[in-house]
Amino acid sequence: MSSNDYYGNTGGGGGGFLAGGSPYGSTSGSPGGAGRKSEIAHSLRPLTAFQLLNATQAHSDAEWMLDDTELGQVTIVGHVVSIQSQATNNLYWLDDGTGRIEARHWIDSSVEETGSNAITEGSYVRVSGSLKMFGNKRYVNANHIRPVKSPHEIYFHLLEAMTVTLIWQRGPPLRPGQNPSTTVPPAVSSNVTGSSAYTAQSHTAAANNSQFSHLPKLQYAIVTFIQSQHANEEGVHVGAIARAVGGTAVTISNALDTLMDDGLVFTTIDDSHFQIAA
């Protein structure tokens, strides 16, 4: 995942979905509504040119919408078909295979785009900025434009656009042991019951999932249960594990020993409390 500051918001804008989901805009009248709108405005969404061309705007000062979701900042990776240098800005015509869109980058005379940062026609670049309309032509007002760091960035971007779009449509991927009915897609208005699903934890847990998926059933059930407890450094008591997971004291104890040998769990305040190794 990119180490972009804004990325944490694209997974669902943690905590911002208090009242009035995006179909209702910010007219809910609740203080949460206005806060949420500025949160989306600061989020960074990876997209394809096709998606940018399909976004809609109710009127020229309204926010941009894509599939019932508001768009904040956007980022796209495409190849530069042509560059038009003007006095105050550079105009890049970008093609990412799904469509073409213009990106306008206002020249900052104090910063020179030379050397490894020079943009050339026929090369791939990453552009970040906001979607704008001038007349009836849309373009990306680019805050940032740079050559891609490697060709893999093209494929990373496609996968990221797919992932984030799916998360907006269907909610974040399930954490281990989580009931599907408790996750709510961010695009639908919701109360805060599912809020833990939208925090950064869901990303970590999705990553941990693959770490544990090879485990035998009892061990997998144990680590899943410990994770679901949101325990702090104290960890989870073995009695709670046994009650939740089932099995005898011997089988649980053996499973925990194996997990400890493998470095997946460790004991905390005493020999009866366990926590997942990060």
Binding site: F50, G99, H152, L159, T165
Partner: protein, 123 residues
């Protein structure tokens, strides 16, 4: 066909897209004056007709029109320079994903009936 569509493809998908503009990420195997033989991300070999089009580098993306299942007429090539190798398995996985129907809102589709033909061929 509205808009500029040039979806990334592999050798296997060419058969269903004759006449369309595509992007083929590939490794250059042999270069001659007017053509090149390249290996696509699924391992298939494709001939590129490249009058006046430069093909430089080992890994390139060939943008061109599909003549038939094994021949593309190049319009342009984009170098895919990389310090190491370009992971073609990853590229192929991504290419196949982009054609899945759950991503219909992210990627434009070529003529629908041609998509069905491509599916038939891949089974």
């Amino acid at each position: 066909m509205s808009g500029h569509i040039s979806m990334r493809v592999n050798a296997g998908r060419l058969a269903g897209l004759t006449g369309d503009t595509v992007r083929l990420p590939c490794k250059v195997l042999r270069l001659s004056d007017d053509s090149a033989i390249v290996e696509a991300s699924d391992g298939g070999q494709v001939e590129i007709q490249r009058k006046n089009v430069d093909v430089t580098g080992t890994y390139v993306e060939v943008v061109g029109t599909v003549v038939d299942a094994s021949l593309i007429k190049a319009l342009a090539t984009i170098p895919l320079d990389s310090d190491g190798e370009l992971d073609m398995t990853l590229v192929n996985d991504v290419i196949e994903l982009t054609f899945e129907s759950r991503f219909d809102k992210i990627f434009p589709r070529y003529h629908v009936e041609k998509e069905f033909i491509a599916l038939d061929n891949s089974w």
